[in-house]
Amino acid sequence: MTERSKTKEKILRTALALLNNEGEVNITAVDIAAVMEISPGNLYYHYKGKDVIIVELFADFESELRQVLAAPVNKPMALEDNWIYLYIIFEEINDFRFFFLNLTSLLERIPELKPKFTRLLSLMQKTFERLLSGLEASGHLNFRTDEKQILSERLTAHFTYWLPYANLRGLKGSPKTIIHEGVYTALTQITPHWGNQSEPYAALLKDFLDEQVG
């Protein structure tokens, strides 16, 4: 990773917290400087504006998520491992939620992020497909032609839009609860492919969710 000065690192941490908690549209570079108690000029010396900060934050997010997605998941994982794995992917997204909550307008405003984000989504889809392939190869899941690919695309869309959707639906609860609900919704989409074991699988999933969400 690129070397960063302590000030730069602090600017990025502060900016990320502000953007996530206050919403991207409500935060300006001046706000970030004010919270850090440095002059806007000083901030500008390090980063020439809010969008440059966002691009840098995106680079961090991208490298984190790539690490998680590239992890070896080809061997069929235990159910709770799948759950936790998806949970961690959601956690990464949640740590960068200002971006996902304002996806369309941010990608329009900072077009250089679009190809990067597209590649990231494609990697996510491949990861899900690999996960499903693993479970299919071990005889757990059944897919007809194209179903696996379509399901992995649907899961990718689910991960991309879960946070804004939960927001719009007024889902209450801690970020943890919302992530667990998101994981549950994701894994539920796999249920029909379990064949004659889909019923106990669904029961198991529900049990699991209740335990996590309480």
């Binding site: 490298s63 998680v68 992890a71 235990a78 106990p200 699988y201 198991l204 049990d207």
Partner: protein, 149 residues
């Protein structure tokens, strides 16, 4: 209030049991029972509930079996003493370590390239070409995003 809730829940359960009890019987038997029902409704209902209870045991037992079977396949760590947060933290650490940070990755790539050079030297002492070809291609890739910034 909880008492009332329990009671209504119990009634619902009994109605449900009567339902599966009826399924368990041959249809004619049920019809027979229904004709008798005009005489003694509650007796028939009780009978059906009884039958249902037996079936419920079978059903629960069966689904428990299936449940265990699935649990086996998934690994059976779901139960008491399963600490989700701990498990999440553990896997997070594993994933991040498995991915390695970029510096680590580059070190490993360097090591692999060095070994590859040795192997190539051993194989064809005269041909250094494949090594040279591979090197600039690898260096060109990380340069691109850097230039964009």
């Amino acid at each position: 209030m909880t008492d009332k809730k329990n009671k209504s829940g119990d009634t619902a359960r009994k109605i449900w049991l009567a339902g599966i009890g009826a399924y368990g019987r041959a249809f004619s038997e049920v019809q027979e029972g229904l004709s008798k029902a005009t005489k003694n409704t509650s007796k028939v209902f009780d009978e059906l509930v009884q039958k249902g209870e037996v079936l419920e045991t079978v059903v629960t037992h069966k689904s428990k079996e299936a449940f265990d079977k699935v649990s086996d396949k998934f690994g059976d760590t779901i139960g008491d003493g399963f600490d989700m947060d701990e498990r999440i933290a553990k896997m997070r650490a594993r994933l991040k370590r498995g991915g390695g940070d970029d510096a680590d990755m580059e070190d490993r790539l360097d090591a692999i390239e060095a070994k590859l050079d040795e192997v190539l030297k051993l194989l064809k002492p005269k041909k250094a070409a494949p090594k040279k070809k591979a090197a600039p291609r690898k260096k060109a890739a990380p340069k691109k995003p850097a230039a964009k910034k």
